[in-house]
Subunit: 309 residues, 2 copies
Amino acid sequence: MALLFKSETDRASLWRDAFARLAPDLEFREWPEVGDPAEIEFALVWHPAKGDLKRYPNLKAIFSLGAGIEHIFSDPELPRHIPVVRMVDHGLTRGMTEYVLMHVLRFHRNVPELEAQKQAGVWNYIDYPPAWERRVGVMGLGVLGGDAARTIASFEFATAGWSRRPKRIEGVECFHGEDGLARFLQRTEILVNLLPLTDATENILNARSFAQLPRGACLINAARGRHLVEEDLIPALDSGQLAGAALDVFREEPLPAGHPFWAHPKIWISPHVASVTQPSTAAKGVLDGIARLRAGLPLENVVDWSEGY
Amino acid sequence: MALLFKSETDRASLWRDAFARLAPDLEFREWPEVGDPAEIEFALVWHPAKGDLKRYPNLKAIFSLGAGIEHIFSDPELPRHIPVVRMVDHGLTRGMTEYVLMHVLRFHRNVPELEAQKQAGVWNYIDYPPAWERRVGVMGLGVLGGDAARTIASFEFATAGWSRRPKRIEGVECFHGEDGLARFLQRTEILVNLLPLTDATENILNARSFAQLPRGACLINAARGRHLVEEDLIPALDSGQLAGAALDVFREEPLPAGHPFWAHPKIWISPHVASVTQPSTAAKGVLDGIARLRAGLPLENVVDWSEGY
């Protein structure tokens, strides 16, 4: 059996090593060196080439290298009968929680103001409230959002979460649905987006939702660029409705040269590094899926076509 | 009975309100409006005026507004028979852990490099290891250092601690003594200092200790400025032995205008705000101490003169 690997950003050599160690009988083929297409039984991919995945007559499962799956579903020729498996990886989850918590703490502890003072050579005490008086809200309460919300709550922040369907997380005030969204936004000073990208969530971060946040709120977007209406962000920052934004994802990646986000002093940018799947932990999850398929057991973390995630 | 309050940086009004709520019979007197010195039974102070605390004939206990106590002990006329109580406050402890963890994550997740890329308009993926491959070390394992180390370990960092005497903390590799220091430093990529300031710990962060760290290590000093030999820091950063330093405390505070730390691109500066005692939680601790004194019970968290902390 052979596994097709395709990614421009993940480190193929680390994956090759991890599989060689855990499953020496699994042939690892790095796209475009595919060999005989009939030998490919599994694909582990990030942004597969359009039309490519229909070329493998014996393909049994498509594993996403990242938490999102829209990079696979955007292929109009995707063979719809083959299960697509979301990446659920401890290293990926914890990496995202690190990123989110760092930015929550950055905003909570006035780091942008402290850094401006340092630049200017100014020593000015800046006060901050105890965590339990700081209201943080996480949109999306799946594997990533749930872990982030639980960790934020463990720091005793006044933590809320919002999801499409009702959820319960201890220590987190959970809102849901269209109705709950307004109430969730109205109480949230630091807003974290970890939603899946679907037709229902695209453009959810827009002028209207920014206006529902309390004045001076901060935004952390570590999900997908298409959640954010980019033209709405700079006016919200310039008016003071938002005090800052930390963005890891963009409608176009790499973020084009000359894009107004680059030069904006209240926008913090990282190049889609909020979290990466860690081959050392994630290869085992992929192999577990392969073993379940071989044993005739149902796959876990399979994408539901009707939900889009 | 009356309590004398003295601080230039803490918010007297918050303390006055907290005591008024919890102990309406305790008179709150803000220095220098002391009234009759004989009525002062307790002092709650940060940097008391030299020679002031010997003026109160009925003083029974001196409570420090901060975790450190050298701001009290530096008074050569301090009445040595009166117990000095360290501040142990949940808000203070957790504030310090927030600050430390934020800086650990900043260094772990290459934030200085990402911020330089943002300034330059550069989109370049920067890799980072999983937390369990990142070695963080905390010097000082008291109330603050112990909480920080436990929290860092809960993020699955390879966490070590160093203290003068042997300690045990679950999930933290504990080193101690002169002997353990070299081994602790040799394995530490991100070094956090939360030691008390004593004759034994003054200047402990110096060229020799920096040289024992692995090349490219980072320093977080949130304890006291006098732990650091300031002249040794810039050469270590300029040679690349240290990759960065986050400093909250300095030998002279405010850090003087023109001090070379201000302009150094690898030094992050905050104006002694790593953590503040939170009146809403801390006033209760002070009142507990007063109640113990009145009940003839031994005080907790009393400074040991022979140890200096």
